[in-house]
Amino acid sequence: MKIELERIEKLAALKLDENERGSMLKDLEDIINYFENLKEVETDSIEPMVYGEKIELVLRDDIVEDSLHLTDLKRLRELFGDGFFRVRRIIGE
């Protein structure tokens, strides 16, 4: 199995340097080759499984509760203007 590592990096918002990329690629290929054994398993009529036993979705009522305060947010990050988070420009990347 060949992996287009750079494409995967882009999707994951990661950028490895060239040295790291070589060993990473090898690790990933080893691991993904290990997965090959799954091909032996017949799964055509099997439903995928994601959720556990006895778990019934419970919905919440539409009630407004207290949000975090700006003081809480300021402990996370410096805020700008009336309380905005700030990022490097989005457009024109």
Binding site: L11, V41, G52, F85
Partner: protein
């Protein structure tokens, strides 16, 4: 009085009768931390002042209530404790002060527990040795040349070194049981849905469970009673009644059927571990249980399934660490580069490896072949357990194929992954399981036996574990 020799129920009752002060309990453990932790390095953050203050509050409060009153609890640093730093063992979260309590933290606080500090872990709980912590390596208190296991290595080591009475860990593929096994303590992975994940830093959301680590099955049972229960904030918790688990530890397992997986012989197991495992089977027989052979031909695929499902979920769970709202910030003059710089510098290599595997397994053209396929095989493994539990009450395996290994011994990621080969299927099937120490190998390193119970039948599982614990005292 040797305070560290007291169990949870002894501490609680002595504090209630004022025979013992919570402050003395906390001081005892804090002193041990001060004395030992520069070597063991189980803690990322010790709550000295907070713990003493809480102890004083308990001592000054005439109303002495709570199942964990005055009991020091160490918390794996991927569980959110309000107003304290939460790192998940990662540089990317360095400096993040949690603005809320995890549900388990609310629950233990309500029962009078004293949180004594946050313990080290593999970054984002990804690892089996705690070597992947971004901060430092935790040593195995049994022999400091060996790893404590992981990812809850700090929690297991803290319990073993008497740096806390109990600890909370999280278990996605064995992260409570394997370090418990390596350090010679008891570690429980509850049924998925038994304990709220609200406030647990997500790794593999369909696999993650918070579980207690303690010196005894009794301590673990009490802690489980406290942290269990349906939680409206976690839509994957189950509305199953919470029992007072400690009262089920009768030691009576007559007529119980203990499952022995036939295919276990196909796995490479350290001979001393294998021997201990055989011996444990004999002990159950001696106590009136019946050994039944079960077949689980798909168990050998569990590792592949796990290393697709967990990284896939992780790749999304860890996307929130983008440097925008909290935690580590990279440096770049445009957004895309900022993301990449933040994440590439903020995450360690094992985390990046798993994010990349997961991203790949979900990506266009590969989803069916990897993520979907794995989710289907997961059901097959689940069904195999279901059939097995039609003929047995508990399934026995070694917790890990080997005892603790040396630092740096596992050269490749795959080698490391194989140390979780017996614990992983349990998470895939949402089952409860416990690791109980049972003897040591020739180097004196602890061996752990894993017992796997039926869904939401922790009381039976704990009772089985209790039998082994009591017998182990005579081995």
């Amino acid at each position: 009085m040797d305070i560290t020799a007291l169990s949870v129920s002894q501490i609680v009752s002595k504090i209630k009768t004022k025979e013992l002060k919570a402050k003395d309990v906390v001081l005892t453990y804090l002193t041990n931390i001060d004395r030992l932790d520069s070597e063991i390095k189980a803690y990322l953050n010790v709550f000295h002042d907070y713990a003493l203050k809480r102890a004083e509050e308990i001592d000054n409060n005439p109303n002495k209530k709570g199942l964990l009153l005055g009991v020091p609890v160490a918390v794996k640093d991927n569980i959110s404790v309000k107003d304290f730093e939460l790192t998940a063992g990662s540089k990317i979260l360095k400096g993040y002060i949690a603005p809320f309590d995890a549900t388990v933290i609310e629950k233990i606080k309500e029962e009078g527990a004293i949180i004594i500090g946050k313990t080290n872990l593999d970054e984002f709980a990804m690892g089996s040795s705690t070597e992947n912590s971004a901060f430092f390596k935790t040593k195995n208190p049994v022999n400091t040349e060996y790893v404590p296991g992981g990812s809850s290595g700090g929690s297991a080591a803290a319990v073993k070194a008497n740096e806390t009475l109990i600890a909370l860990g999280s278990d996605t593929g064995g992260s409570v049981r394997q370090p418990a096994s390596f350090c010679g303590v008891v570690g429980l992975k509850p049924t998925y849905g038994r304990v709220s994940r609200y406030g647990l830093v997500a790794f593999g959301s369909s696999l993650d469970v918070i579980g207690p680590i303690g010196k005894s099955v009794e301590d673990v049972a009490i802690t489980l009673s406290v942290i269990s229960g349906f939680d409206l904030r976690d839509s994957t918790t189950a509305k199953v009644p919470v029992l007072n688990f400690e009262t089920y530890l009768t030691g009576d397992i007559k007529g119980k059927k203990v499952g022995l997986i036939k295919e276990i012989q196909n796995f490479k197991i350290q001979p001393e571990v294998e021997e201990a495992f055989r011996k444990s089977l004999e002990i159950f027989e001696k106590n009136g249980a019946e050994i039944v052979e079960i077949s689980m031909p798909h168990l050998k695929y569990a590792l592949s399934v796990y290393y697709i499902v967990a990284p896939s979920e992780a790749s999304a769970n860890l996307a929130r660490y983008d440097g925008v709202r909290y935690g580590f910030e990279g440096n770049a003059d445009n957004l895309r580069d900022f993301y990449e710089d933040t994440r590439t510098k903020g995450f360690g290599s094992e985390v990046k490896r798993r994010i990349l595997i997961g991203t790949f397994a979900l990506s266009e053209g590969y989803y069916d072949q990897y993520y979907l396929k794995a989710s289907k095989v997961r059901r097959i493994i689940f069904e195999e357990f279901k059939r097995a539990f039609e003929i047995c009450d508990v399934i026995l395996t070694p917790t890990s194929p080997t005892t603790a290994f040396r630092f740096g011994e596992k050269a490749t990621p795959l080698e490391m992954y194989l140390s979780d080969v017996f614990t992983i299927p349990v998470n895939l099937a949402y089952l409860p399981a416990i690791s109980v120490p049972f003897g040591v190998d020739s180097k004196g390193l602890p061996i752990g036996i894993q017992m796997i119970g039926k869904w939401f039948k922790e009381e039976e599982l704990l009772n089985t574990a209790y039998v082994l614990q009591e017998e182990a005292k005579h081995v």
